[in-house]
């Protein structure tokens, strides 16, 4: 386990920024309630086996005596670095993103399952959409009962969405909670 170096930190923060925008400081600076100490520390990012974890400092301190081979996970996993050095966010950070998301999309009940199978969000399945979305923004997808389902990239801006035909793609799928069942081994 080691802290992220400069390059890695920038990459990770960039990706997060797409989803959270200004709320990024919430993520980085919120007080942590984990750990047995009375003083809450903060959260930090750590790298372990090509995966980036978002952990509170108290946990990090205590995880240091676990040897590198045997440490498997800490706190919340945010994403992983591929062999080529690219960084992808994974579904496990959904909770984190959903709490701080700037752009949201709500799906109709009929098209929930389709998204959970890994398909993109079509205009016909769109229930609600927040304003001010630009193409390429990170979007968090919710169900109508405000349960976060996944996240993706916006394909069109909010204005253009209104003019789309029902089969047009609104959000490119990146990750969804169905992956817990479909791709449990790859997470």
């Amino acid at each position: 386990m080691r802290p992220l170096d400069e390059a890695e930190t920038t990459v990770v923060f960039e990706k997060l920024l797409k989803f959270t925008g200004n709320n990024l400081k919430n993520i980085v600076e919120s007080p942590a309630h984990e750990g047995p100490d009375p003083n809450p520390g903060r959260y930090c990012f750590r790298l372990q086996k090509n995966r980036v974890y978002y952990v509170s400092e108290a946990l990090v301190k205590r995880a240091t005596n676990i040897s590198r081979k045997n440490l498997v996970a800490m706190g919340t996993c945010v994403g992983r670095f591929t062999h080529g050095g690219k960084f992808h966010l994974t579904v496990q950070c959904l909770g984190l993103l959903a709490a701080n998301a700037k752009h949201k999309v709500w799906l109709k009940p009929t098209s929930e399952m389709s998204f959970l199978y890994g398909n993109h969000v079509l205009k016909g399945g769109l229930g609600r959409i927040t304003d001010g979305i630009q193409p390429g923004d990170g979007v968090v997808v919710f169900s109508m009962s405000d349960v976060p389902l996944g996240f993706g990239n916006a394909a069109k801006s909010t204005q253009d969405c209104r003019k789309l035909d029902p089969n047009g793609i609104v959000v490119h799928h990146q990750s969804d909670i169905g992956e817990y069942l479909r791709m449990e081994d790859d997470l």
């Binding site: 984990e34 009375p38 205590r62 045997n70 706190g75 996993c77 909670i177 997470l187």
Partner: protein, 636 residues
Amino acid sequence: MALGSLSKKKGSKSSKGPPKKKQKGDLFTEKRPEKADLSDDSDVSNEEVEELENFDEDSGSELLSGDVDPLADDFLQGSDDFYVIWFDLEENSGSDSAAGSDGSDSDSEVSDIERKSRALDERRAREEKDAEDELQTNIAEESDEFWLPTEEELEAEANRPPDLQNLQRRIQEIVRVLSNFKDLRQEGAKRKDYIEQLKMDLSSYYGYNDFLIGVLIEMFPVNELLELINAFEKPRPICLRTNTLKARRRDLAEVLLKRGVNLDPLSKWSKVGLVVYDSQVPIGATPEYMAGLYMLQSANSFLPVMALAPQEKERIVDMAAAPGGKTTYVAALMKNTGIIYANEMKEPRLKSLTANLNRMGVTNTIVCNYDGRELPKVLGLNSVDRVLLDAPCSGTGVISKDESVKTSKSLEDIEKSAQLQKQLILNAIDMVDANSKSGGYIVYSTCSMMIAENEAVVDYALKKRNVKVVPCGLDFGRPGYTRFREYRFHPSLDKTRRFYPHVHNMDGFFVAKLKKVSNSLPTAAAAEAVQSTEQAPLSSEKDVESVEEAPLSSVEDAVEGSVRPSKEDSNKKNNPGRIKREHQNGNGAPKPAADKRRERKFPFRKEVPRRTEIIKAREEKRQALRGTKRKGEGSK
């Protein structure tokens, strides 16, 4: 027709009238002795009597009509009587009792009626008695019919394919016999024979191996055993646990009901459990499941966590955490505060553990991959508040989930598991800090019913460490065994809890909650105990070397074995150890220790001369013998 002839008869009767009746009355009174005579007489009369009695069934009319024989005077009279009685019966039962029997109203008539009714009653009584006797003989025959199959029968059975119905019937019969053994036993058959046969039948009908059936028979009375085995054949209901970090049980139940799941709250002892009866959608694949709102978990897995009762901001270790149901429950109870170390030894299971943790939104957990026995070294001794040890076991309590356990477990498997569990529980205890403000508890649980894996392990922990059993707060279970066959456990073991499928409708389970009393290890007090031929654990402050030597000498003391001069040296070496031990005992002043030391040395010194004395004595004897021999020879 009968009536017709009867009327004929009646006619004839009426002609005779009262005198006849009187006669009949007399006859009737005489009938008794006559009948008695008849019955005493030869077969013919017997036949007559029988026929008489059988007139009820036959249509006696034919006989009657053909019946003017003087032969059957008695016969006729008897039949007359019979018919009169029958007639009377009919008339009496009929609506018009005015006619007929009261044809001649005389006082004797009344007594006649009385006599007739008495005869009727007696006949009825006789018939009843016969019926009862028949029943009795039938029942007696049935219980006699169940005899234990002989060897030839067993061999024949072994050659045929098993007849399931026969087996089932025999099982039921044996259970019945055993439940009332005094009355229903077969002559010459011992209880053991019945039990052996029951074992064989159960193992072939239900598919158990001999070892497991033998153990179960020892643990349960026969009726309960059958219930238990039947309960193992059926699966337990699916349960799920609401993730209180993300949802409330009521809201979750609403949402799931809308999806078409038929569910109910689990029991009154759980506020987060739901039991699923059936479901239109796959319960493990709903969007709510994927969002981490609930976890599929069997009801018995709730219990150790409820017993553990983790508080917020505590440090908890889960030593065998995969797939993570209990760990996530602990985190939910702690509301994501504090820290949990989730350890899992097997790598393939780590994935499901991490996936579940992330899915349920648990953020206060560190997952590591160690053998549970190494954990104290990594995490430090006396460093955490609570430990949950859901030990790997033989799985004899979850036969309803995994039928292969019926045939694959043997005594060695159980003993191996028990060995591992004993090591794990000691390590678990070592990790806990006895002085922690809010904790100091260890919960040990298994999904097995074997005493060797449950009570024996807890008893071992009680002997080896300063812990005590405390109530787990699960009062609806059965208390654990404090003694079983030749084992005697600490009496506090009745605070542990056992759960059975046929009683609690959950898989077989065992939960024990221990509280660590002090961080130091138990001292010489344990070593002096008679049973401990094992090493007496000394405090960790001492050197490792002296640790190894002191127990050795204590063993030798106990045995009072070989006397070697080097013994005294080892004694001397260990005396500091002994002094220290006695210090810890609380004896305080070194003087009594020194006295003890001297006292201990004295017997040794005494022994040495004794030995040489013995040798001398032997030598003298030998010489004496040789002397006598020579003398003898000399004399010769």
